[in-house]
Symmetry: C3
Subunit: 364 residues, 3 copies
Amino acid sequence: MLTPQGGPGHLRKPLKSGAGRDDERVPMRYTLKEIIEITGGKIVRNSPDMVITGVAGLETAREGDLSFAKHPAMFPKVRASKAAAFLLPEPIPDLAKAQIVVEKPFFAMARLLKVLADSRTQRNSGVSSRAVVHNDASIGNHVTIGAGSAVEAGAEIGDDTVIYPLVFVGRNTRIGRNCIIHPNVTIMEEVTLGDRVTVKSSTVIGSDGFSVQPNEKGDLVKIPQAGTVIIEDDVEIGANCTIDRATLDATVIGRGTKIDNHCHIAHNVRIGENSILVAYAKIAGSTRIGKHVTIAEDVGITDNVVIGEGARIGGGSKVYKSVPPGAEMWGSPAKDLLLEKKIQAIIKKLPEWREKLRKLENGQ
Amino acid sequence: MLTPQGGPGHLRKPLKSGAGRDDERVPMRYTLKEIIEITGGKIVRNSPDMVITGVAGLETAREGDLSFAKHPAMFPKVRASKAAAFLLPEPIPDLAKAQIVVEKPFFAMARLLKVLADSRTQRNSGVSSRAVVHNDASIGNHVTIGAGSAVEAGAEIGDDTVIYPLVFVGRNTRIGRNCIIHPNVTIMEEVTLGDRVTVKSSTVIGSDGFSVQPNEKGDLVKIPQAGTVIIEDDVEIGANCTIDRATLDATVIGRGTKIDNHCHIAHNVRIGENSILVAYAKIAGSTRIGKHVTIAEDVGITDNVVIGEGARIGGGSKVYKSVPPGAEMWGSPAKDLLLEKKIQAIIKKLPEWREKLRKLENGQ
Amino acid sequence: MLTPQGGPGHLRKPLKSGAGRDDERVPMRYTLKEIIEITGGKIVRNSPDMVITGVAGLETAREGDLSFAKHPAMFPKVRASKAAAFLLPEPIPDLAKAQIVVEKPFFAMARLLKVLADSRTQRNSGVSSRAVVHNDASIGNHVTIGAGSAVEAGAEIGDDTVIYPLVFVGRNTRIGRNCIIHPNVTIMEEVTLGDRVTVKSSTVIGSDGFSVQPNEKGDLVKIPQAGTVIIEDDVEIGANCTIDRATLDATVIGRGTKIDNHCHIAHNVRIGENSILVAYAKIAGSTRIGKHVTIAEDVGITDNVVIGEGARIGGGSKVYKSVPPGAEMWGSPAKDLLLEKKIQAIIKKLPEWREKLRKLENGQ
């Protein structure tokens, strides 16, 4: 992946000073023909050899960009856009610009974005000579391990997995196939990750859970955590998250669950399949969360409660009690969503109530 | 700790794909006799040579596991449990399974957990040839420094301390004896850690405090921070925490204080001994916190206030004023706990109040 | 910066056990004459050769320290202080201690602090032989790159920039001149940083934004993010922050904006010049924030809203709607500051209201 270079500074080309508008696109270079191989659809106008140099929204697009409209209602914005080509649900006959007509332009664009995003990660680059992999670790086929990463004894890395530079993989930890582990991630000892798991930078998996108790002198004594963490297949974990090791058995993140940045999953928590945790979700110890649950940003859930399948918890809520399946909750403490909305509407009117109450007291 | 291995991928044994139930235990292998040496107590039934392969709660235990019951009230769950052996406060004569009878089963289990948890960290492994330790750093006896860690000039690492891989220890920073510094921790320059301090991954100690001021042109100018950080003995700091450097003298974390993940201690803060900060506690600049204080999850405390000894602040509170010793506070803004509970009970009834008020206004 | 040292432990001098009061100052050694060269002003009393060994506030100062008073009102505290010398706005004739008289003592002290703080970072140390810099990266003049840092192909590092150890700089990422990138920072691929940018430890720039959508089977599918991040000149980003990559074009942090620890800037967000984000500020996707905006600690702002120039959002607020320029907002949900203060005052009195309402209902 990297070749060592330890000499004095060297300069490939003059450096521009500062950041400017030129930096607002990740450079790309695809012909319309190549794009259609990714997105599907048919070209209307222009040659298949036309070169596209960026992707952008209709309003921020510039010359050379490809943009898209989900719906004919957006066609006035398409006409006003500076983009060179568009993914559209139907052609605009009088528009003298390249058009790719495709059934679902948003999903077509998403397919293209996936190709662009995937190309950032260099796969199948082998184990860097600057990585430190223990002889007693098992490394699958086509694995990439970047410079500086440390993989300890007994660890297993599955086929096609990419470990970026500066990652720590502790003893006996197992990482499945086709995973991507970003730089500066820490995965402590004896932890298991399934296949196709993504873990973003500065996230910590398998740190021991927080559990303290005062002794007879009033000094705080730590209760050790001897369990593990299981991350099932297809889980994505954002940057700067913490997923703590269980006291006895396992903290479990269910298959397909997606976790945003800055989230905290405490010891013994179990989260079901395909749940969503938005940024700063904080789940206290031993709480169970069902599948298809949505936990919005900055929600706190107390320890030892159960959040039922399909429940939805609104942003900033503090949940102190179990939540039944399918319930929608909001507020701090969390209440039924409709009740909380009613209460918030009333709270805004409390200054008016004060006047009413005064009048009533004065017999008016 | 690690031996370098830079060749092509090699495979020790076939990799299982994905994560499954088999991963819910950290493998262990102790005879009952060996366990009793750790936990104390007496064996009832079964041979001392019986092998225990895991520890678990009564309900999640499987064949081969050791479990425990704090109290005879839990004995029905003991009878229903699949565990092979139990730590119990008194024997269950008609239970045909191994029993270790011990005065306080929870503390006996905690002693065993400590042995298991401690065994994860490899001690006394020496300085890795892949660590980068400055010639002018002082390294004690039996110190472990993992691959990739950088220890700069003038730094001191005390006897028996373990520095995992990928840790940064800045110039003139002193780390005491028997500390454990997890991977990807950053400890900036001129900082002091006492003995038996644990710092978990991605935590940052000694970053400069946040202090800005607009100049005459309206541009923001940073006020530099020239102080330091002192972490006293027996402190534990969770993952993804930040403890900022003081402006002039020191940010201080008192002896025995335990800090959970994602906490933020701003510049000039002083925290007393044996206080607890649960996840996402955020303490703003120059605030003083006494000893034996409990700050629950997601509490924010404003700058320049004093939190008295033994005070307890409930989860999610925002504290804008000093808190007297021993006080219990909750809410946002924080109020006396009982007042806040009263208010929350009323708030839930505000929709009913609205009806009452309407009736009163209509003279009903 | 560092020379490798892989042998057994060696000890420069006996290690003190534990942390003590001696550690509350970062050691310094300047004569009054040298200090005056930095701060300006004139010496009253004492010789210019007097040696100053620390800086401190009036109350915590010790022998050998320099302290300061902004205003003559603080002179009684100056007289009571143990400091050896003072920065003062006017002389105190009967005080038999060294005094430096300067127009604005606070700014004079800030100039000295800047010199002290800057001296922590070692500049112009070259590229460590233990850094891993790709041959196809461009490194400016007088650049420092610390041990273990990985700089990938196509990356550019501007003149005089300091990259601490254990930093990841992804492919084609551009870092301007005179930047300081702290240890364990991750800057992903294709990202641009301007000049004089500071990024503190464990911060992640250019991780892909959080965007998921259920497919027809109910499994969550990630929407890829193909855009970039632009950090303009003179931005400071605290420790443990995340700044996510845009979906199509760029997430932008405007010139001079200062961001505290634990903040989260989601995909497509644009922040104007010279705004302040205090700790745990969380800005959801595609929101636009004007210039000179102040966002206090632990504020959450929802997606797709606009925060007008010069707006001020109080601590802990949750903002669900756009905020006009210059507005002051507080609360959850955020309301006009004065309304929120009124409401909070009323809420504290709700238990009294309950009594009043009971009396009215009983016809009293």
